[in-house]
């Protein structure tokens, strides 16, 4: 598969995922719908990172620096929610 074909397939997958998310939002509310929609957005992000941002061909050091921002962001979420979800509210 040439890189060009690969990019076009990735784009088709991104658009398909977009419309799956669009459809889900109209039929499923609450926690399951929310989780699935955000997971699909995560898949879209991984597709862009891997192919459009060419991390599939990058060296280990570049991949590590690409992951760094997301690792720190996960600390922000984990620590913030470990506080807000555990607090006793009156």
């Amino acid at each position: 598969m040439t890189p060009k074909t690969q990019f076009i397939l990735v784009w088709l997958a991104l658009i398909a995922l977009l419309f799956v998310m669009f459809g889900l939002a109209h039929f499923y509310g609450h926690i399951i719908g929310t989780t699935v929609i955000l997971l699909l957005a995560g898949v879209q992000m991984l597709l862009v990172l891997t192919f459009f941002m060419r991390l599939q061909h990058s060296s280990a050091i570049v991949r590590l620096s690409a992951a760094a921002g997301f690792v720190w962001l996960s600390f922000l979420f984990i620590l913030a929610f470990s506080d807000y979800l555990m607090r006793q509210w009156h």
Partner: protein, 212 residues
């Protein structure tokens, strides 16, 4: 000692090392951008957790039509950007400029569509403080602080991206890029894809989740 190519700066051994340094620098910058937008996303998540009903009401007041069209425009611009970088990598110089122009066009189309959406939002009275429908709950107004703040910050990034792409188009037009050297194009491509990723999460958070 082999002769150095003119585009290799003196601190680098060779072109691949210079390219890797450019990528590393750009990803480090993008990590700061992830945290910059991340603060917005984290505070959105916390407030959404506490005021989920009012936030869901806010989602039902955003304009799904514009949001979806804009997602398609931006994802497609991600494709044309990736194709432009790939064309440089394969030394197909003639297609770089057209692909960059299509990317710029898609970015501008996004901004125009966003402008129409903002105008419609104003007539729907969802601008906090200045023009907000008093019948909506206070925490729906909080949702719209996030809506305007996050989409405006994203739009500013897109505008910067269009500026960078214009510079890249001129450089490509003047034949500055080849398979051996296209570092500026590569890192602008990374920036553009990052702006794409921010929108990938803004779309479900501001337009989808809570609509049902």
């Amino acid at each position: 000692m082999p002769e150095r190519e003119s585009f290799v700066e003196e601190q680098f051994e060779d072109a691949p090392q210079q390219m890797e340094a450019s990528e590393l620098g750009m990803w480090t910058f993008l990590a700061t951008e992830v945290l910059f937008f991340g603060g917005f996303f984290a505070s959105y998540a916390i407030y959404r957790h506490f005021y989920s009903a009012d936030f869901a009401l806010g989602v039902r007041h955003t304009l799904l039509f514009f949001g979806t069209i804009n997602s398609v425009l931006l994802l497609t611009s991600g494709l044309t950007m990736a194709l432009a970088v790939q064309a440089a990598d394969e030394n197909r110089k003639k297609v770089i400029v057209p692909l960059l122009l299509v990317t710029i066009f898609l970015g501008l189309a996004f901004l125009v569509s966003k402008g129409f959406e903002y105008a419609a939002d104003l007539s729907d009275k969802v601008l906090p403080v200045y023009n907000f429908d008093p019948s909506l709950p206070a925490h729906t107004e909080l949702f719209f602080w996030f809506y305007w703040g996050m989409t405006a910050l994203h739009a500013i990034h897109l505008l910067v991206g269009i500026g960078l792409l214009s510079v890249m188009t001129v450089m490509a037009w003047r034949g500055k890029f080849s398979a051996k050297y296209y570092n500026p194009l590569e890192i602008v491509g990374l920036y553009w894809a990052f702006v794409d990723i921010v929108w990938i999460f803004l779309y479900p958070l501001l337009y989808l989740i809570g609509r049902y």
